[in-house]
């Protein structure tokens, strides 16, 4: 097992910069989730660590060893691909054994390791099947099996759950976390899904346009987003961002700071006799909670998250108040002030 360090890593494709001076440190056994919109460079980051691309500048260290110029096989990093990347003509057992066969591992060892892995991943009954005879979740487990048998220092996951349906995704999230806890290997996990990001990572990296917006534990990023981008990207529904000039008495009692005020939908309060009046336009029931889209007299759109059974209907006037303790302040450059 080993820690993973990226030190000033840069990459561009032709004239297009994809990653700009990226620094990242994942401690031994850590689970780091890289999240960002498509095209933010998160997949490139993963491919650089895997050795499928070569960095233009900077260093990549796995367990203190500089692997920046090493070929993929010398890096002790195993990767789980988005589309599983299983060889369709080989059985599950041979897909798992593929790397060991290439490296010339003795047959008896291969059989033992494949059996072990199949037991861990509950694939014993599927070992003789071909990938096309498996369900999406089983394929995903085979792909993880191929990574596990290598006993790598670093696991790389490239949006591994994006092809699964919502329920299976939730199960696999738990399964990957459990597996990670059991194996204790360092993991770098790329996703565009902020739920995966929030629930799985010890460390969250929010990437935007090839730059790190913020690095930290998920709760910290949720509680204190470093920029308006992070504020909108992490959390669903996204944080309300209001230009200070049109906030009116919404944030009554808070000192006016910065260009933009932020307030999470669940922190907006109904306060008769205080705050601003807003007209409810659309009610979105989500089971336990209801999301309400409303517009203030100044023309500011807000999303409010209330427990179900609140009795609000479209067209109602809502007195809204943002408690100062939950306000976020952002400067003209979109960075957090306080």
């Amino acid at each position: 097992m080993a820690d993973l360090t990226l030190d000033g890593v840069r990459k561009s494709f032709g004239e297009t910069p994809v990653l700009q001076a990226l620094d990242l440190a994942v401690p031994d056994g850590g689970f780091c989730v890289v999240v960002g919109p498509s095209g933010c460079g998160k997949s490139t980051l993963l491919r650089l660590v895997a050795g499928l691309e070569t960095a233009d500048a900077g260093r990549i260290l796995i367990g203190g060893r500089d692997v920046t110029r090493l070929p993929p096989k010398a890096r002790s990093a195993a990767m789980v691909f988005q589309n599983y990347a299983l060889l369709p003509h080989l059985s599950v057992a041979r897909n798992i054994a593929f790397g060991m066969e290439i490296r010339g591992t003795p047959r008896a060892d291969i059989a033992a390791r494949v059996a072990d892995t199949a037991r861990i991943l509950r694939l014993e009954a599927q070992l003789d099947r071909k990938p096309r005879q498996l369900s999406g979740g089983q394929r995903q487990r085979v792909a993880m099996g191929r990574a596990i048998v290598r006993d790598p220092q670093v696991f790389l996951f490239d949006e591994p759950l994006s092809n699964l349906d919502a329920q299976l995704r939730a199960e696999m999230r738990a399964e990957i976390k459990a597996l990670h806890a059991r194996l204790g290997a360092t993991a770098l996990y790329v996703t565009h899904d902020q739920i995966e990001a929030m629930t799985m990572g010890d460390i969250l990296v929010v990437l935007n346009g090839g730059r790190v917006e913020q690095i930290g534990p998920p709760e910290e990023i949720y509680r204190r987003p470093a920029s308006t981008f992070v504020a909108r990207f992490i959390g669903a529904p996204p944080m309300n961002l209001i230009p200070s000039t049109t906030a009116g008495s919404l944030a009554a009692g808070a000192p006016a700071r910065g260009e933009t005020l932020g307030i999470r939908p669940e922190h907006l309060k109904l306060a008769p006799g205080a705050g601003v009046e807003a007209t409810a336009r659309r009610i979105e029931p989500h089971g336990a909670d209801t999301f309400i889209q409303a517009t203030t007299a100044e023309g500011v759109d807000l999303t409010i998250r209330l427990p179900a059974g609140n009795g609000v209907r479209a067209g109602d006037q809502l007195p809204l108040l943002a408690p100062p303790a939950h306000l976020h302040h952002f400067g003209a450059d979109g960075r957090r002030i306080a």
Binding site: P72, M79, A85, F98, I102
Partner: protein
């Protein structure tokens, strides 16, 4: 490959029918005309083969006389077999088509992989030249090829018949197109596991392109099994002559035209391909579909 036509003609007729579905009596008439046309074409294609089969299995007296009750006979076959060294011709043809196909597969695989997945200077130009090979009719090059073979001292050898065809532009093109459809993730997953370049081709690309190999193999074998003009020119002895040339010499007027024996020989020489195709017809058609050749 004329023998494939009767099988494919009715298929195209049924495929065309739904397209021309107009209301009223017309669709039915349309259908009737279509299938009648398909049957006509099919019969036209297979007529020579039927004639050959008829004469080969009947005594020579029935060469030009059709009589359902004519006595069946197998004597034309041993007669033909004895009159010319067909065993040797068979051997020559088998050596010829297998050596052409095996070299084509090796060269084609390596070249196709390079064109599909490697980046190197002049790739576009080189691939353009490969395509040009597909557009030049081989017959135009007869004289030039003959000069080359004479220079190499290979005239009248089996190698001389095969050599001009061993780097098949068609094969390279076909395999390249197939290789390009193979997901890059598979390639990358194998590279992370530490596979070498040749190992990558052998373990990932070749197994996934199996239908294409089968389809190309069929095209190549039948083309070179049936090739006539170039072997006729470049060979002049029994030890190198393939079946087609042997058969034409056997059937030339100076050995006396006896259709029943000639047709028995014709059936014998085309039988392996015919039987092979009929046996594997389903697999061949499927692999043609999968390889995208129709």
């Amino acid at each position: 490959m004329t023998f494939a036509a009767p099988a494919s003609a009715p298929t195209s007729a049924t495929a065309a029918a739904p397209v021309s579905a107009t209301p009223g009596v017309w669709p039915r008439l349309d259908r009737v005309l279509m299938s009648a046309g398909a049957w006509m074409l099919g019969l036209l294609w297979i007529a020579p083969l039927l004639y050959a089969a008829w004469t080969a299995f009947h005594p020579s007296a029935y060469e030009t006389r059709f009589d359902l009750l004519a006595p069946l006979s197998l004597e034309n076959f041993p007669l033909a077999w004895k009159q010319a060294p067909f065993a040797r011709y068979f051997l020559n043809t088998v050596i010829l088509v297998t050596s052409i196909l095996s070299v084509q597969l090796v060269v084609g695989t390596l070249a196709a992989f390079a064109f599909a997945r490697l980046r190197f200077a002049g790739r576009g130009i080189l691939f353009g030249l490969v395509l040009v090979q597909m557009m030049v009719m081989p017959d135009i090059l007869l004289v030039e090829n003959y000069r080359t073979m004479r220079m190499l001292g290979l005239v009248d050898t089996i190698a001389a018949i095969g050599l001009p065809y061993m780097a098949s532009g068609f094969g390279i093109f076909l395999l390249r197109q197939t290789f390009m459809t193979i997901p890059r993730e598979l390639d990358e997953a194998a590279r992370i596991e530490g596979v070498s370049l040749l190992g990558l081709i052998w373990r990932v690309y070749v197994p996934l392109a199996k239908p294409t190999y089968l389809a190309f193999g069929l095209v190549s074998v039948s083309a070179h099994w049936n090739d006539f003009i170039w072997p006729l020119i470049v060979t002049n002895s029994v030890s190198s002559r393939p079946l087609t040339v042997g058969l034409s010499i056997f059937a030339s007027p100076d050995s006396g035209v006896q259709w029943s024996v000639i047709n028995a020989a014709t059936l014998m020489t085309s039988a392996p391909l015919l039987i092979g195709f009929l046996l594997f017809q389903r697999q061949f058609v499927q692999s043609f579909m999968r390889a995208g050749i129709k």
